[in-house]
C-alpha cells in the first residue's frame, strides 16, 4: 500500500470507530466516555485551527483561544440575550469569531515567527481581560449558564439526549475534517505550503504572501469559532477563563504532540492528552506531573509528533520498496 492510501484508510477507520462509539460504549456500561469523546472532538477543532496556521502556513499562534472565545460567547449571548435558536446562536458565534479573525489577522499577519506569536497572545489577552471585566454581559470568571435550545424541535432532537448530542458534534467535526482535507489539497492549500516553505520564492512566483496568510488566519478563526460555539452548546456554559492564553498554549501542545502539518495530528494529540489526563486523574492526585512528563517524552522520541512519526514510518517502507532513499524534500517538509 502506498503511504497516502494507508493514511486515507486509517482516517476512514478512525471516523467509522468514532461514529460507532455511542452504540458500542453503552454495551460496556461506559456511557461516561461518550461525553469525553465528544469533548475531545470539540477541542481537536481548536487544535486544528492552530495546525492550519502552524503546520500548513508556518505561523505559530498563541492566541487561538480568542476566536474560540468569540464563538463560545457568540453562541451563549445569542441564546441568553437575543433568545436565538440553536442554529442562529451557532451562526452568530461563528460569524463573530470569523469577523474578529479578519480584523485581528489584518494586523497580525504583517508579522511572522516570534513577533506573530507575541501579537496573537497580546490580542487574546486584551479580550480576555475585557471579558473578565464586562461581567454584566459575559459573567466574567463565573461565566454564563443557559439551557440549550433544541437542534430540530419538529423532530424532537435535543442536546439533552447524550447520543443525539454526540452525533450533532460528530457530524459537524467530520464536516470540518473533510473541509480541511479538501482545503490543504486545493490550490489555496498549495499556496499555504509554498508560503510556509519559502516566503521569498512564493512571492517571486506571484503569490500574494500577505493575502495568503490572512486567508489562513481567517479560516483558522472560523474553525476555532465553530469549536467555541460547539463547546458552549455542549457545556451549556461560557466563561472568560476559556479565553486565557493557557488554553491557546494547550492547543499548540496538542497539535505538536499529535503532529503539526498532518490532518489527523490535532485529533490524535488532543485525544491522547485528554484521555491520559482522564485516566491518570482517577489514579493519582498530582496526575499533572505525569501528563507533563508524558508530553516531554513524546516529543523527545517522536519529534514530528505521533502522526508525523507514523507517516514517516510508512514513507520509509514505501521508499525501501520503490526507491533507494527517502526524498529529501519529503523529509524537509516535516520540520
Amino acid at each position: 500500500m502506498t503511504s497516502i492510501r494507508i493514511r486515507t484508510v486509517s482516517a476512514i477507520a478512525i471516523a467509522a470507530l468514532l461514529a460507532l462509539t455511542p452504540l458500542a460504549l453503552p454495551m460496556f456500561g461506559a456511557t461516561f466516555w461518550i461525553n469525553v469523546i465528544a469533548e475531545i472532538l470539540i477541542w481537536s477543532l481548536l487544535a486544528m485551527s492552530v495546525n492550519l496556521l502552524f503546520g500548513y502556513v508556518g505561523l505559530l499562534s498563541f492566541g487561538q483561544a480568542l476566536y474560540f472565545g468569540f464563538g463560545m460567547y457568540g453562541a451563549a449571548i445569542g441564546i441568553t440575550q437575543f433568545g436565538l435558536g440553536l442554529w442562529g446562536a451557532m451562526l452568530l458565534g461563528v460569524t463573530a469569531a470569523t469577523a474578529m479573525a479578519a480584523v485581528a489577522g489584518a494586523f497580525a499577519v504583517r508579522l511572522t515567527w516570534h513577533y506573530f506569536a507575541i501579537i496573537t497572545v497580546v490580542f487574546s489577552l486584551i479580550f480576555y481581560f475585557t471579558a473578565m471585566s464586562a461581567k454584566s454581559l459575559t459573567g466574567g470568571d463565573d461565566g454564563l449558564s443557559f439551557t440549550a435550545p433544541p437542534i430540530l424541535a419538529a423532530a424532537g432532537l435535543t442536546l439533552t439526549d447524550k447520543t443525539t448530542q454526540f452525533y450533532f458534534i460528530f457530524l459537524i467535526c467530520l464536516a470540518c475534517y473533510l473541509g480541511m482535507a479538501l482545503l490543504v489539497s486545493s490550490p489555496l492549500g498549495m499556496r499555504f505550503a509554498a508560503v510556509r516553505d519559502n516566503e521569498n520564492r512564493a512571492s517571486l512566483i506571484g503569490i500574494n504572501v500577505y493575502l495568503t496568510r490572512w486567508l489562513a488566519f481567517v479560516i483558522a478563526g472560523f474553525i476555532a469559532g465553530i469549536a467555541g460555539a460547539l463547546f458552549a452548546l455542549f457545556g451549556r456554559y461560557a466563561s472568560a477563563s476559556y479565553m486565557f492564553y493557557h488554553v491557546s498554549g494547550e492547543a499548540v501542545v496538542w497539535t505538536i504532540v499529535g503532529g503539526a502539518g498532518t490532518l489527523m495530528g490535532p485529533l490524535v494529540g488532543t485525544a491522547l492528552l485528554i484521555l491520559f489526563r482522564e485516566v491518570m486523574s482517577g489514579l493519582w492526585e498530582n496526575y499533572l506531573i505525569a501528563v507533563g512528563a508524558g508530553v516531554i517524552l513524546v516529543v523527545m522520541f517522536a519529534p514530528r509528533g505521533v502522526v508525523g512519526s507514523l507517516n514517516s514510518l510508512t514513507l520509509r517502507r514505501k521508499a525501501s520498496e520503490e526507491a533507494p532513499v527517502v526524498s529529501p524534500a519529503e523529509l524537509a517538509k516535516v520540520e
Binding site: F54, L60, F107, R110, L111, H114, Y115, A117, I118, I119, V121, V122, F123, L125, I126, F129, T130, M132, S133, Y245, H246, G249, E250, V252, V253, I256, V257, A260, E285, N286, L288, I289, V291, G292, A293, G294, V295, I296, V298, V299, M300, P303, E335
Partner: protein, 284 residues
C-alpha cells in the same frame, strides 16, 4: 497626586523586578532560541523557595541561596529536558510546557494550593516625594537594578559572557575557536533560570506566593523581550520598566484591569509600528 506618585513608583519597582526576570528569558529566548513557556514558573518557584528558605534561615541567606539553586535547577533541566529537543524551537514549546505542568503541580503538592503572604524583611516606611513609602520596596528596586547592572558587566567584561555572545552570533565559528558550546548553552539556560528565581525571591514579600503566579508573569516577560528587541538586553530592561510604569500611571485613573488592557494596547501598537523592537537600530 500622592496616589499617582505611589502608583508610578510601584510601577517602577515592579518593572525593575520584571526586567530581571525578562533578562533571564531574553538570554534563553534570544541566545538559545528556546521558547521557554516555563519561565513564569521559574519565577514562581523562586517566590516559594524564597518564602520557605527565609522561614528557616532568614531572608538574606534566602536571597543568596535561591539564585544558586536556580542555576543548578536550570543546568539540570537543560541537560535532561531541553538538550534533546534544542534543535527545533517549536518542540521546546512542548517540553517547556510539560515542565511548567510538572513545576506547578509539584509546588502544589509540596507547598499546598493556598496563597500565602510573606512579611517584609525590612519594616517601616520613609517619606518619598510627599508620601510614606515601604522601605522594602525601595530596597527591592535598588537591589534589582544592581543585579541588572551586574548582569551587563558580566556579559561584557567576563570570558564566559563573551562566549555566550559568541555562541549566539555564530555557533560553528565558536566551536571552531574552541569554545565549549554545549557547556555555554547549559550555563546560559542556568543563568536565565537563576535570574527568574532571583526575581521571585525579591518579589516574594510584595506579592502573593502560590503555585499559579507564574501564569501572569509569563506573557509580561515575553512582551518585554520582544518589544525591547530580540537579543537586545538593554531594550528588554527599558521595555519592562516602561510598561510597568505606564500600567501604574493608568491604574491611578482607572481600575487595574483597564490599566492592563491599555498597556497591552500600547504594546500591540508598538509591535506593529516597530516590528523588530522599540529600540531596533539603536544598539546595532
Amino acid at each position: 497626586m500622592e496616589l499617582v506618585v505611589a502608583l508610578a513608583i510601584n510601577g517602577l519597582v515592579w518593572g525593575l523586578i520584571v526586567a530581571l526576570i525578562a533578562l533571564g528569558l531574553s538570554i534563553i529566548f534570544g541566545l538559545l532560541d528556546i521558547i521557554n513557556v516555563a519561565h513564569g514558573d521559574f519565577f514562581m518557584v523562586g517566590t516559594v523557595l524564597g518564602l520557605t528558605i527565609a522561614g528557616t534561615t532568614g531572608f538574606w541567606i534566602a536571597l543568596v541561596l535561591v539564585p544558586l539553586l536556580g542555576l543548578m535547577l536550570g543546568v539540570l533541566i537543560e541537560r535532561f529536558v531541553i538538550r534533546p529537543t534544542i534543535n527545533a524551537a517549536s518542540l521546546t514549546i512542548v517540553t517547556t510546557f510539560g515542565l511548567s505542568m510538572i513545576l506547578q503541580e509539584s509546588v502544589r503538592a509540596a507547598f499546598g494550593a493556598q496563597p500565602r503572604r510573606m512579611a517584609a524583611p525590612i519594616e517601616g516606611t520613609i517619606p518619598l516625594f510627599g508620601i510614606d513609602y515601604d522601605i522594602y520596596r525601595i530596597f527591592a528596586a535598588a537591589f534589582s537594578a544592581m543585579c541588572i547592572a551586574g548582569f551587563f558587566l558580566f556579559m561584557s567584561r567576563t570570558t564566559l559572557g563573551t562566549w555566550m555572545r559568541a555562541v549566539r552570533h555564530d555557533r560553528e565559528t565558536a566551536t571552531a575557536l574552541g569554545i565549549p558550546v554545549q557547556r555555554v548553552c547549559a550555563f546560559t539556560f542556568g543563568l536565565g533560570t537563576a535570574l527568574a528565581l532571583l526575581g521571585g525571591a525579591i518579589a516574594a514579600p510584595i506579592t502573593t506566593v502560590e503555585f499559579r503566579t507564574g501564569v501572569d508573569i509569563l506573557p509580561v516577560s515575553f512582551m518585554a523581550v520582544v518589544i525591547g528587541g530580540l537579543g537586545n538586553a538593554k531594550g528588554t530592561v527599558a521595555a519592562a520598566v516602561l510598561l510597568a510604569v505606564l500600567e501604574g500611571l493608568v491604574s491611578s485613573i482607572a481600575d487595574p484591569t483597564t490599566a492592563r488592557i491599555s498597556s497591552l494596547a500600547v504594546m500591540s501598537i508598538a509591535l506593529l509600528v516597530r516590528p523588530h523592537g522599540l529600540f531596533a537600530g539603536a544598539t546595532r
